[in-house]
């Protein structure tokens, strides 16, 4: 389970070009979006959707559903585990 979280952190850093960050900087339960978190925005959410499809074969058809799924590393991992 924590392995998936570690992989996700590395993938996110690469896919979203978060060059200033290392996986250790991203907390499992911290919000990814908005100013309190990593400051990701709507384009990053779309990249998450591409990532889910290309790496985990999971399709998210409605971008507005992304808000909950991509809230944190924990919620993202839970979604992947549930849908894979």
């Amino acid at each position: 389970m924590s392995e998936l979280r570690q992989t996700l952190k590395a993938q996110i850093i690469e896919q979203l070009n978060l060059e200033d960050l290392t996986p250790a900087d991203i907390k499992n339960d911290a919000p990814l979006f908005g100013n309190d978190g990593l400051g990701l925005d709507s384009i990053d959410a779309l990249e998450f959707i591409v990532l889910l499809e290309s790496s985990y074969d999971i399709k998210v058809a409605d971008p507005s559903a992304g808000k909950e799924i991509f809230h944190s590393i924990d919620s993202l991992a839970a979604y992947i585990e549930k849908n894979q």
């Binding site: 925005d41 709507s42 384009i43 779309l46 959707i49 591409v50 971008p63």
Partner: protein, 391 residues
């Protein structure tokens, strides 16, 4: 100094002449179709139903060019019909485009990958500026040629720039507008942004899910008073207001309150010396994305308060023609003024909950339309408004 409009032309999925386009508008009939773009048949798009070669033959075009350039030539030639090039009228062409010669680059790239008939010389069409050079060549315009690339506000910005060139005495007459041919590039890009509607787009409707893409071109001819005397053309309308403002919010999304759009509309009214209540019809940007239509509705409410004039988005007819949209919609504005028309906002049934605005729902004729305000908002937060007025 007044800026007169003495020519107009357009081509899109609802027709390759003004008359054909009017027939669709009158019949409240969309030109958007499922499968109209052969390479990606799963999308509903608005396509001009001719191949590049057919366009050249049908419209007697002698200059080679990309689809963007060819569509531009068709519309610009219509607009310039009856005009003559003349040493005493300094004439320019300003064209807006976002994809330029992408269709040809895509074809060559495919040829390159498949190693068949690859001709690298054809990449010369790629640069966005090339399409404007090609359109100018077809018209014989040489004095001033320029290309604007500000996404979906490109054509509106070319109207604005043309007006300024005339006002500042740098040109006497200028053909302005925009053109964009549809390409796999554009379709793939908008798909990645997840702002397509699988069904027909529904601007300003609560249930709207996104846009349908289109292709086409729209150009108009602007002239100074001095030029008018020399050309002997009868003005169709005037370009009285223009403005461009930055939304300073996000690369692609509009700010929730429509701040940039509000500045843009207000400043265009100021330039025209008009009050909000002088506007008889608003041709909205109205792409039918959840974000644009909500943001634009807020901006319209901020400017027009409780007295919102009839407004509609005509993109449910043509699809979103991107850099061409401001040119095509300027043609619609001229027709509205000349013939007293109001265009329906197709596919509307339920107002947006937060704003409650109800657009124009029927095609109407015989109205008195003196001033039309037309919005074009582009990615990059580039928001433009033009105002066209009766003579």
């Amino acid at each position: 100094m007044e800026i007169f409009i003495t020519g107009y032309g357009m081509i899109s999925c609802i027709g390759s002449t003004i008359d054909e386009s009017l027939e669709y508008l009158r019949a409240e009939k969309t030109g958007i179709q499922l499968g109209a773009f052969e390479a990606l048949p799963q999308y509903r798009v608005g396509v001009v139903p001719f191949s590049n070669d057919e366009i050249k033959a049908k419209f007697n075009i002698s200059t080679d060019g990309s689809r963007t350039a060819l569509l531009g030539m068709v519309a610009a030639k219509q607009a310039f019909e009856g005009h003559k090039l003349n040493d005493s009228i300094r004439t320019g062409l300003i064209s807006g485009t976002s994809v330029g010669g992408m269709d040809i680059s895509e074809r060559e790239y495919k040829n390159f990958l498949e190693q068949t008939n690859h001709n690298p010389a054809n990449y010369k069409h790629h640069a966005s500026g090339t399409s404007s050079e090609e359109i100018a060549k077809e018209l014989g315009v040489t004095e001033f040629i320029n290309t604007i690339s500000t996404a979906c506000s490109s054509a509106a910005n070319s109207l604005m720039m043309g007006a300024r060139m005339i006002k500042n005495g740098l040109l006497d007459r200028v053909i302005v507008g925009g053109t964009d041919g549809l390409s796999s590039f554009t379709i793939s890009g908008f798909k990645s942004l997840m702002i397509f509607d699988d069904e027909l787009c529904r601007p300003f409707d609560e249930s709207r899910k996104g846009l349908n893409l289109g292709e086409g071109a729209g150009f108009i001819v602007l002239e100074s008073e001095k030029s008018l005397k020399l050309s002997g053309k009868k003005p169709l309308a005037k370009l009285t207001g223009w403005s461009n403002a930055s939304d300073a919010f996000h690369q692609t999304a509009s700010s929730p309150n429509g701040y940039g759009a509000t500045i843009s509309m207000q400043e265009a009214l100021n330039v025209a010396g008009l009050q909000a209540q002088d506007i008889d019809y608003i041709n909205a940007h109205g792409t039918a994305t959840p974000n644009n239509d909500l943001s634009e509705s807020h901006a319209i409410k901020t400017i027009f308060k409780d007295a919102i004039p009839p407004f509609s988005s005509t993109k449910a007819y043509t699809g979103h023609t991107l850099a061409a949209s401001g040119g095509i919609e300027a043609v619609f504005a001229i027709l509205a003024i000349q013939q007293g028309l109001l265009y329906p906002n197709l596919n509307f049934s339920t107002p947006i909950e937060e704003t409650g605005l109800i657009p124009q729902l029927k095609f109407e004729e015989g109205k008195t339309i003196k001033n039309v305000l037309s919005n074009s908002f582009g990615f990059g937060g580039n928001n433009s408004t033009v105002i066209l007025s009766a003579i």
